[in-house]
């Protein structure tokens, strides 16, 4: 039941409580927010179970945690810990350069990132229950998430307009299973919820994602890498903006006095594009 809500990255129980107080509908428990993973370099892995358990004990809202792409043992551990969702995430260093996790082998539901419709449908065919745009995590720059959302949602609209013969070609072009392509054409909608992630830093960014057609938003570095004195206020403002995403007067009101957002990074300044991970 996360539609219309905000899922916030947190690295400590205190941050988890701030997120819950602000109205987050879930938290993502991880050791470092993507901006720090980007800064530190090296190999990024699943978080310490103790840290995840600390966050689980701190809040009553659902807790998600990240496993590396293809690292099914990390996912098994997260399932054993009783997390509510596993994010098979490109933000961590991939463990397998060919295969994603067979998510049907798990009871815990999975969310996966995607940059286009074909990638999104391949993740569903592996058992993902929720898709998010990849965006470019840790940049505070919404441009890639917008690109991914427009690509996925635009192609969904085009598939719903295609005739039955054209669907075979769509499946081929998308490198996606034909039955899923046909299902979109028949039902006029994507089979699972689509959320936005990667680069959301302001209430306006969250509302932009929602107006483009995302059904909920993930905010990673955007909250706890912004002005520390107004972190709680910014978190709350992003929750308000995600609910009232079509009301510019409310958006104007909640965008006031939030202090400095995270500085952010331009796409030409980064040397590692996480969104290129995933196959």
């Amino acid at each position: 039941m996360m539609k219309g809500g905000v899922i916030m990255d947190v690295v400590t129980p205190d941050q988890a409580r701030i997120a819950e107080d602000a109205g987050a509908c879930a938290v993502m428990a991880l050791e470092r927010v993507p901006a720090d993973i980007r800064r530190d370099g090296g190999v990024a892995r699943m978080s310490d179970p103790e840290m995840i358990e600390g966050i689980k004990a701190a809040v009553r809202i659902p807790v998600m945690a990240k496993a590396r792409i293809g690292h099914f043992v990390e996912a098994q551990i997260l399932e054993a810990l009783g997390v509510d969702f596993v994010d098979e995430s490109e933000v961590l260093t991939p463990a397998d350069e060919t295969h994603h996790i067979d998510k049907f082998a798990f009871t815990v539901p999975f969310v996966c990132g995607a940059t286009n419709l074909g990638e999104a449908l391949r993740r569903i065919s592996e058992g993902a229950c929720m898709i998010r745009s990849m965006g470019e995590a840790g940049t505070g720059n919404i441009v890639e998430a917008v690109r991914h959302l427009r690509s996925i949602l635009g192609d969904i609209r085009r598939v719903t307009q295609a005739d039955s013969a054209e669907l075979f070609d769509w499946a081929k072009k998308l490198q996606a299973p034909l039955p899923l392509v046909q299902e979109i054409a028949e039902t006029g909608r994507f089979p699972v919820p689509i959320f936005c992630a990667g680069g959301i830093a302001t209430p306006a960014d969250a509302a932009l994602a929602m107006q483009l057609g995302a059904e909920a938003v993930f905010v990673g570095s955007g909250i706890f890498k912004s002005d520390p004195s107004t972190v709680a206020l910014r978190a709350k403002a992003i929750v308000e903006a995600t609910t009232h995403f079509r009301d510019p007067h409310i958006l104007a009101k909640v965008s006031r006095g939030l202090g400095a957002p995270m500085t952010g990074i331009g796409m030409d300044e980064i040397n590692q594009r996480y969104a290129e991970r995933g196959w």
Partner: protein, 218 residues
């Protein structure tokens, strides 16, 4: 003018509720502000995170407005988190979590477990079995006088009613069975909607979608 049923759209499964209501012939409208509420005749409070919804009810000014409308007799259907909002007593909630205290019931938040413990089961109702989808569901631990039990699971109440206020601990909007929504529409517009006329099965594709959604939704 046929009545308009509002769906509280602060966070959660509001879109699926609106679709079910429309299949039952109702006009629907999303409610996010007191102004939106003024334009509707009844309200559905969906599942979602009750703490998130409770905070957004406060900040939007809707808490007071909804409480006033309920006290004047507005029909309400609350499901999952929506049921928590209607309960007179919330156990295991946040200390600052507010509810409308419309139904004299005690509910325990997430009492059926975490996401991974979500399940589907057949509910006994006077209208026959109903497919219940339970996701991080609250449990009704006490039912006060004047509250009727309309549905139960293994002898435990999961669907209750007092007058035109209905509450379910499960997600009827994900069941592919619109009878409960049809019933609510008939409560809102008595005489307009023949009873038991609204069974709408989701097609095979819809059922497949639901299966994936159930595993995911929380």
């Amino acid at each position: 003018m046929p009545p308009v049923i509002g769906v509280l759209a602060l966070q959660g499964a509001f879109a699926a509720h609106a679709e079910s209501l429309r299949r039952c012939g109702a006009s629907t409208s999303e409610v996010r502000t007191p102004g939106d509420l003024a334009a509707v005749d009844a309200l559905v409070m969906p599942g979602g995170e009750s703490s998130t919804m409770s905070q957004l009810l406060e900040s939007s000014g809707l808490f007071t407005a909804v409480a006033a409308r309920i006290s004047k007799g507005m029909a309400v259907l609350g499901t999952c988190a929506g049921m928590i909002l209607l309960a007179s007593e919330v156990l295991d909630g946040r200390s600052d979590q507010r509810s409308f205290s419309t139904l004299d019931i005690s509910v325990r938040r997430n009492a059926f477990g975490r996401q991974i413990d979500s399940f589907e089961a057949s509910i006994d109702t006077p209208e026959g079995p109903f497919h219940g989808v339970f996701i991080r569901a609250p449990r009704i631990e006490r039912v006060g006088p004047g509250v009727d039990i309309l549905g139960s699971l293994d002898g435990e109440p999961v669907l209750v009613r007092r007058g035109n206020v209905l509450a379910a601990s499960f997600h009827p909007e994900l069941a592919g069975d619109d009878r409960l929504h049809g019933y609510f529409v008939s409560v809102v517009s008595p005489g307009d909607v023949p009873d038991g006329h609204h069974r709408a099965g989701a097609g095979p594709a819809g059922a497949a979608v639901d299966t994936r959604e159930r595993k995911r939704e929380g």
